[in-house]
Symmetry: C2
Subunit: 340 residues, 2 copies
DNA sequence: ATGAAAGCGCTAACAT
DNA sequence: ATGTTAGCGCTTTCAT
C-alpha cells in the first residue's frame, strides 16, 4: 500500500513534484528524467491515489450517469456506448439508477454526486426546475440524451419527425383507422418522449379523419407502459373497441411485441388482419418481423460520451442539440389493410 | 463551493472535529451539539468532500462492478439489482464494461480500480490467476456472481443441475435425438457457464444414446455465441444434419429465440416438428411461448449487493457460495416428439 | 464531550 | 528543468 509518490521520487532520484509532472505528462520535464520516473513507477507498481489527486486538483476523473432504468434495452445500450468512449479517455463512470419517482426523490435529496464527478450525463429524463438547478450547481458540464435542458449539451433524435414518418407509412399503405400504444398521462418519471410520439400520432391520424370527414376515435389512444405486457393489454383494449383499428403504431418495440402477442392470442394475423409498427429497432425486432423506426442507440451513447469529453477539456461551450438520424425499417408486420 | 467543514463548525459554534463526528453519527457527541451541527450543515447545504474524506480514511464509499457486457439482458438485470441495494446503503457504483478480450486486457493493464473502490464485484467472468491476484491485491473484498474464485464470496445458480433438469424434461417427453446450442470452445472472455451447460447436455444425451445402443451424434453440439443470430445459424446447422434432432436445448433464451426463427423460416412448427427449450427466462420468453429454465436474475444482483455490504462491514468472512433456485417454466415450445 | 494538531497523498505556485 | 513549500478538506489521535 505505501506506494507513495515519494518512494518513486527517491528511487528516481528526483523530487515529488517532478514525479507528479512526469506521470501526468505535463510539459517541462526532460525526456531522460521522465523515462527514469516512469521506470521507477513501473518498478514499484505505483499508481496515483485518485482521492489525493482529486483533493489537490478538484478533478475526479469520473462522470456520473443518471439513468431511469439500467435494465431496459434502450438505456443499457446507451450506457454501453458512453462507457466505451469514456474509458478510452481514462474516465470512470459512476452509475445511478433511478427506478421510480421514489428513487428519483431520494437521489436528489441525497445527491451523491456532489464533488464526486467532473460531469453529469442524464438519460431521457426531463428535469424539474429545481433538479436542473441542483445539477448545474455542481459547476460541472451537463449533457443529456433524449431531452433538452437549458445549460446542457444534448444528443437525441427527431422523435416527432420519426413518428410522423412512421404514421405516414401506415397511411400510405391505405390505413385510415390507426391505433396508438404509448403512454397516457401521467407518464412515469415525467418522460416526454412518449408524449412527442403521441403528438405525432395525433397529427397524422387526425388529418386522416378530417379528410374522411369524421371524428377521431378517442379510444384509439392507449397506454402500454413501455413494457411487453402493457403493450399486450393495450392491444387487448383496442381489439375490444366497436370500431377496430386496421393498424397500430406502438411507441416502443417492446409494446409492439406485446401487441403482436395479443393479436396472436386473439387469433388475428399480422399483417393480414392488423398491421403493427414499432419504434426503436430492438435487438429482437428482426426476430419477430416487426416493422419499426430504427434509432441509433449505441451511437447516441457514444456521441454523448464525446460531448462529455469535449466539455471536460474545452470548457463548456453550449452547442445546439445533436440530432442523429432515424430510419424506417420495413419488415413483415405492416401491409395494406384487407378490405372487409 | 467553499462549503467547508470549518464553516459549519463556526456556524454551530464548535470545532471541526466535532462537526466531523456529529455528521458521521459517531458516538461521543452530546445530543444537543449534534442537533446544532446538523442544523448548521443543513443551513449551509453542506456535504462532505468524498475525496478529502477518502484521503483521510482510506475508504471511498464506492464499489467497482466489472461486467462483460452491460447491454445484455442478463447483466443489466443484475446490475440493476446490485445498484438498488448498494444505493440504499449510500454506496456508489463504478461501472466497468469489458466488452471483449481487448477491453479486458486494457482494463487489467490500466487497472482503474486502484484506490478507487472499497470492494469489487465481478460478473460471470472466470479470472486468470494473475487477474485474481491483481484484484485481491486491492485488499478489498471481492464477490463474484456466476463463478467461484478462491478468496471471493459468490452467488450463483446450480448451472449443471438446472441444465440436467432441462434435458431430462426433454427425455421424459420422449425425445432421444436432442441437439445443443451453446458455445463451443474457445469461449469468448473464457466464460465457463456455457461449458457447464454443455456438460449437462452431454451427460443426459449420452446416457440416452447408451440406452439405445448407439453413438451420440457429434454434430448435435453447436455454437450460437449467446446471440439471437448465432442461435439462428446454429439451428440452421442442426437442420442440415442427415439425422435431425427432434428437440433442441439452447443454453440461453436469446439463442433459443434465434432457433425458433430458423425453424419458422424452414417451415417447421414448434413444438410439433421440433421442441425448443431455453435457459434464463428472458423478459420475452413468455411472448414467444418458450419453455425455459428460469433463474432469478434480479435476485442474484441483490444478493451480491448484500454480500458486498456484509463484507464491507464485518470484515471479510468467506462463506460457501450462495446458490439460488432455478425452476423449469413450461410453455408451448416443448412437447412429445411426433412419430414420423 | 470537545478541541488542537498532525497528517492522508497529491498538485500548484513560487523559486531557483 | 527541477525543487520547496503550501495547502486541498477531511479524520483521528491525543489532550483536556
Amino acid at each position: 500500500m505505501p506506494d507513495k509518490l515519494d518512494d518513486v521520487a527517491r528511487l528516481a532520484g528526483v523530487s515529488a513534484a517532478t514525479v507528479s509532472r512526469a506521470l501526468r505528462g505535463v510539459r517541462g520535464v526532460a525526456e531522460g528524467t521522465r523515462a527514469r520516473v516512469l521506470a521507477a513507477a513501473a518498478e514499484l507498481g505505483y499508481a496515483v491515489s485518485p482521492a489525493a489527486s482529486s483533493l489537490a486538483t478538484g478533478r475526479t476523473g469520473t462522470v456520473g450517469v443518471i439513468v431511469p432504468y439500467v435494465d431496459r434495452w434502450y438505456f443499457s445500450r446507451i450506457i454501453s456506448g458512453v462507457e466505451r468512449v469514456l474509458r478510452e479517455a481514462g474516465i470512470s463512470l459512476l452509475l445511478y439508477n433511478l427506478g421510480d419517482d421514489a428513487g428519483r426523490a431520494r437521489f436528489f435529496a441525497e445527491f451523491p454526486l456532489r464533488r464526486r464527478v467532473d460531469a453529469v450525463l442524464v438519460l431521457s429524463l426531463p428535469l424539474s426546475e429545481a433538479e436542473r438547478a441542483q445539477l448545474l450547481s455542481l459547476g460541472a458540464p451537463l449533457v443529456t440524451v433524449g431531452t433538452e435542458e437549458p445549460g446542457a449539451d444534448s444528443v437525441g433524435i427527431d422523435d416527432h419527425g420519426a413518428a410522423v414518418t412512421a404514421m405516414r407509412h401506415l397511411v400510405q399503405l391505405g390505413h385510415r383507422e390507426i391505433g396508438f400504444i404509448g403512454e397516457t398521462a401521467p407518464v412515469p418519471l415525467g418522460f416526454t418522449t412518449p408524449l412527442r410520439r403521441l403528438a405525432a400520432y395525433r397529427e397524422v391520424y387526425h388529418a386522416v379523419c378530417r379528410e374522411d370527414g369524421r371524428a377521431p376515435e378517442a379510444g384509439f389512444e392507449t397506454g402500454g407502459g413501455f413494457t411487453v405486457s402493457g403493450g399486450e393489454q393495450a392491444m387487448g383494449t383496442l381489439l375490444g373497441l366497436p370500431r377496430r383499428p386496421s393498424a397500430v403504431f406502438a411507441a416502443s418495440d417492446e409494446m409492439a411485441f406485446g401487441a403482436l402477442r395479443a393479436l396472436r392470442r386473439a387469433g388475428l394475423r399480422v399483417p393480414h388482419d392488423v398491421s403493427v409498427l414499432g419504434f426503436d429497432d430492438h435487438d429482437l425486432a428482426g426476430l419477430l418481423e416487426l416493422s419499426t423506426v430504427a434509432q441509433p442507440v449505441a451511437e447516441l451513447g457514444e456521441h454523448a460520451g464525446r460531448l462529455l469529453l469535449a466539455r471536460l477539456s474545452d470548457g463548456k461551450i453550449l452547442t445546439s442539440p445533436a440530432i442523429l438520424r432515424t430510419r424506417l425499417v420495413l419488415r413483415g408486420s405492416t401491409a395494406p389493410p384487407t378490405t372487409r
